[in-house]
């Protein structure tokens, strides 16, 4: 599964990071960085949680 961030929507709330710190982080400027686009099956639950909490629906999984 692939996790993607829609840059034009992401405003940097970082709520996704609280859910999935192994998959993404905010850099020093508060920009979201995806550490791995390809999500291992055992992390898919964590990735779904990140998608779920983003307040502006900027993360998607497919």
């Amino acid at each position: 599964m692939r996790l993607s961030v829609h840059r034009d929507r992401c405003e940097g709330y970082g709520l996704c990071v609280d859910e999935a710190s192994s998959l993404l982080h905010l850099d020093d400027d508060g920009e979201l960085v995806l550490d791995a686009e390809e999500v291992e099956p055992e992390l898919s639950g964590v990735a779904e949680a990140a998608v779920r909490v983003c307040p502006v629906a900027a993360l998607t999984m497919d």
């Binding site: 940097g12 508060g30 909490v53 307040p55």
Partner: protein, 392 residues
Amino acid sequence: MTLTRTSHSEVDLFSDEVLVDPYPVYRDLRDRGGAVRLSALDVWAIPRYADVRRALADWAGFSSRGIALNEPVNRMLVGSVLASDPPFHDTLRAVLSARLGPRAVRPLQAEIAGRAERLVDELVERGSFDAVTDLAVAFPFSVVFDLIGIPDDARPKMLGWADATFTVFGPLNERTLGGLDAIGEMFGWLGTLQATDLKEGSMGRDIFRAADEGRIGRESCIPLLAAYTSAGLDTTINAIANAVHLLGTHPDQWDLVTADPGLVPSALNEVLRYDAPVQGFGRTVTGDIEIDGAPVRSGSQVLLLYGSGNRDERRYPEPDRFDVTRNPVDHLAFGYGTHACAGQALARLEAHAVLTALATRVRRFRVGEPVRHLNNVVRGLERLPVDGLELR
């Protein structure tokens, strides 16, 4: 052929009795179905969490041009960020989020925390105070006015204006009609403002700069300014008032917060879930659809009930229990998706600052009988006496 069924309710969601305590009515609506026809209003209520979220995620299917439950106000809001759909919406929103997004407000944190500490120290010194006027109103006023940079002479009027801007989203009842006069007055005043009336470097001044630079049209300046002044006040005020009320009436929960002020963000999420300051907003359905088996025709008006979705037993176990450790990060109090609150980073910063200042100073406090403030959209308080402070 699919089997369709239509649930109805005769309830007037905007009557005084329901506004005082809407939650039993919401539960009844949720039990009736995912979309319930409100016969009195010609509107579909959407009371369950999952359906509200789905609608908020689908701006094309649920247009914000029907944000209010009455046509005069929807017409008035044409061109505002709240009532516009993408792509125009996104142009306006970009101007706001450049100043309101988490990256932009993080540097304000120390200053806002300091202000909260000074205010709370002063109130603690007094020994008793009104948590609405002296804290919940006083604090966002002092923060937001300076940030927006609008002239001081508008302050006395602004509270009434901000309250009116929300109440008029309801159906054309007495409250809405009363609010319309106040709104007219507010837009009249805003319309007189020039860039130079707004403090240099302020968020308000930035709007005019965006127009100078051609990022937005001139005609968008006043609607954007209104988005700051109205959306940023009544909501935060009542979030803080509701927080003091809920934490004061649940001393065991307050004990948890004072023992570990790291719980403040979770406690705020629970306050926002439990008593959403914005109880609901409308949308216009743009195609024939079915919601939970109910046929909803193109052009229908729906009312997304954030306050009910937040108490949906299908989403939150024991939804009527106030639990500061629950941390319901996906609550609907800030909406979701395209129109998700653009000011939520600032709102959180303000509310965290106030609650942290209280939690690190006050071990126990007593709240007296609250007086509810009735507004078609906003759930909050008019007065909340606090005394019996025991300090840490």
